[in-house]
């Protein structure tokens, strides 16, 4: 019965479970091959601790901002009154933009918002406003967050659009009929009904930004201390004196995502207690 599924299991074990497991195990090995906690405890010192803080902050900020803006745009695109074609333009574009990350995205922003970017030059030459002089830069934390939103917002839009579609006109009308203003409708009905989907989407966005490597690498040439960039530096920079430290950092990423899931699941359960 199971025989035809064996190639699949062999493949996933060999190329997914064993490598993932080796990262867990390797994180607790020393240079001499013995067991140790020193790699993992090193993560709680600089510069690693800061890298985790920055990674979590960038992921959290872009997940929340992307979430709020994504819901706003999704609602604006879907609500009664917005022409149908606008809606399909936005969802189609989001389908593409959510999948458009990494190196080309970074460069598109450099070409547009960078020091000699098209928008930056235009504002400097024609509006006499120097963005760079006012502290705007693509190459620091805020800049990376600004760029990440390019894939975070469409991802939110794609994930949340079906839920917003599910908000029935009757609910809004019933609420207003019973005396509620629009704010009260959103507070008591709209947001609570969307909450399970919003929470699920936020955790997806967080993981999405947390795992991102190429965009930040290309933007900052690896200078912004994000965990994936630090791990990458160990392999590309030929400074591999302790591969177990890189494995410990990878293990740390896994641990952060696991903690996020543990926070998410009870929240989700609470928010969705009324659902089927």
């Amino acid at each position: 019965m199971w025989l035809p599924t064996i190639p699949f299991f062999v493949y996933t074990i060999a190329f997914l479970f064993v490598p993932a497991g080796s990262v867990m195990v390797g994180a607790f090995r020393g240079k001499d091959g013995g067991w140790t906690f020193s790699n993992v405890t090193t993560l709680f010192h600089q510069p690693y601790l800061d890298a985790y803080k920055t990674s979590i902050e960038v992921s959290g900020v872009t997940a929340l901002l992307g979430g709020v803006i994504g819901v706003g745009i999704a609602y604006a695109a879907i609500r009664d009154g917005t022409p149908r074609w606008l809606r399909s333009v936005f969802t189609t574009f989001s389908g593409v933009a959510a999948n458009f990350g990494g190196i080309p995205l970074a460069f598109a922003f450099i070409a547009t918002w960078g020091t000699i970017g098209v928008v930056t030059s235009f504002m400097r030459d024609h509006l006499h406003y120097d963005l760079t002089a006012h502290g705007f830069s693509l190459f620091n934390k805020t800049g990376v967050e600004f760029v990440y939103l390019y894939f975070q917002i469409p991802l939110m839009l794609l994930v949340i659009a079906p839920a917003i579609d599910g908000l029935r006109r009757e609910w809004r009308e019933a609420a207003s009929n019973l005396g509620a203003n629009p704010f009260q409708f959103w507070r008591y009905v709209g947001i609570p009904v969307l909450m399970p989907s919003i929470l699920g989407a936020l955790i997806l966005l967080f993981g999405n930004a947390f795992a991102a490597y190429a965009t930040a690498y290309s933007l900052t040439s690896g200078t912004l201390p994000l965990v994936p960039l630090l791990i990458g530096a160990y392999y590309t920079g030929n400074v591999l004196d302790n591969p177990h430290l890189a494995q410990a950092m990878a293990f740390g990423m896994f641990a952060v995502l696991a903690v996020m899931m543990m926070v998410y699941i009870p929240l989700q359960r609470r928010a969705a207690r009324w659902a089927k």
Binding site: M1, P4, T5, P7, F8, T12, F15, L16, V18, P19, G21, S22, G26, A76, D80, G81, T82, F90, G95, V96, A98, N99, F100, G101, G102, I103, P104, L105, F107, A108, A111, T112, W113, I116, G117, V118, L149, Y150, L155, L158, G207, N208, A209, F210, A211, Y213, A214, S218, S221, P228, I231, G232, Y235, T236, P243, A246, Q247, A250, F254, M261
Partner: protein, 267 residues
């Protein structure tokens, strides 16, 4: 009953305009940038595009990435189609197990996966560890796995696997024949959707290629970014174009069979 839809509101217009500006500006910006001259920085010249077309590395890496994509798609289909078919036909209780497997790559980001792969397979034969066709494809099949699985799973759910199989076998068809002649044509849209997602993933994947130091198309793009600002804009636009073609093909298939688009992860 038939109610006129109200007019678009001011706040909706503002949201949509700001959104459109944020999303379109980088595309327009890159396009204008690609038309600037390498020497003077002034508009407009197609020199950047000529540079790209005459660049050997561009064609070389693009060809490599397309080869890797085709290889990834082929292995994924051979590996996942029979498995998902069999699970739907004979062992439905295995389906949630495989579905939960398919969620694991979301918790194990590519950067973690590549660290593990490099560690586990160090010292394996050169034809595997030392070539992108071996090592990278092995990793890319794992990256494509969730998208392939969920596409195929939806495809199989939409057809009556049991009846099709029984009908085929009662007419004397063998297992391989049933799979290739009866089942495959019926899940073609799902398999195509999964394949386009895999194509988009492989063409944009940077993390694993960079850490395992293989020169794929995204690596070439990054190298150009660092060295040739204006031609880089042209390559970026072409890369954009490839993603657009893959995703629009996917959406086109999805529209025909009424599915929703899915997401890849070339971050």
């Amino acid at each position: 009953m038939k109610l006129r839809r109200p007019k678009i509101t001011l706040s909706a217009t503002i949201w949509l305009l700001l959104g459109a500006a944020y999303f379109l500006l980088p595309l327009v910006g890159t396009f204008i940038f690609s038309l600037k001259s390498n020497q003077t920085g002034k508009c407009c010249t197609i020199a950047s595009y000529t540079w790209v077309v005459h660049n050997g590395d561009f064609w070389h890496t693009l060809k490599l990435s397309l080869t890797l994509a085709l290889e990834t798609i082929a292995i994924s289909l051979v590996l996942f189609v029979p498995t998902v078919y069999w699970v739907h036909l004979k062992v439905p209780k295995l389906r949630p197990v495989i579905a939960s497997f398919a969620l694991i790559p979301f918790v194990v980001p590519p950067i973690v996966l590549v660290v593990g792969l490099l560690d586990v397979f160090r010292g394996t034969p050169q034809w595997f560890y030392g070539t992108p066709q071996g090592f990278l494809v092995a990793a890319y099949v794992i990256l494509a796995f969730p998208y392939m699985f969920f596409s195929l799973d939806a495809g199989f759910r939409a057809i009556d696997v049991h009846t099709l199989t029984e009908a085929s076998q009662s007419l004397g068809a063998s297992w391989p024949r049933t799979l290739t002649r009866v089942i495959l044509p019926n899940i073609r849209a799902a398999a195509l959707a999964g394949s386009f997602l895999a194509l988009a993933i492989v063409l944009g994947e940077f993390t694993i290629a960079n850490l395992s130091q293989f020169n794929t198309f995204p690596i070439f793009l990054q190298y150009t970014n660092e060295t040739q600002a204006y031609p880089a804009a042209a390559v970026t636009l072409m890369s954009f174009g490839l993603t657009w073609i893959a995703m629009l093909s996917l959406l086109y298939i999805g529209r025909k069979r009424g599915g929703t688009p899915q997401l890849t992860g070339a971050r």
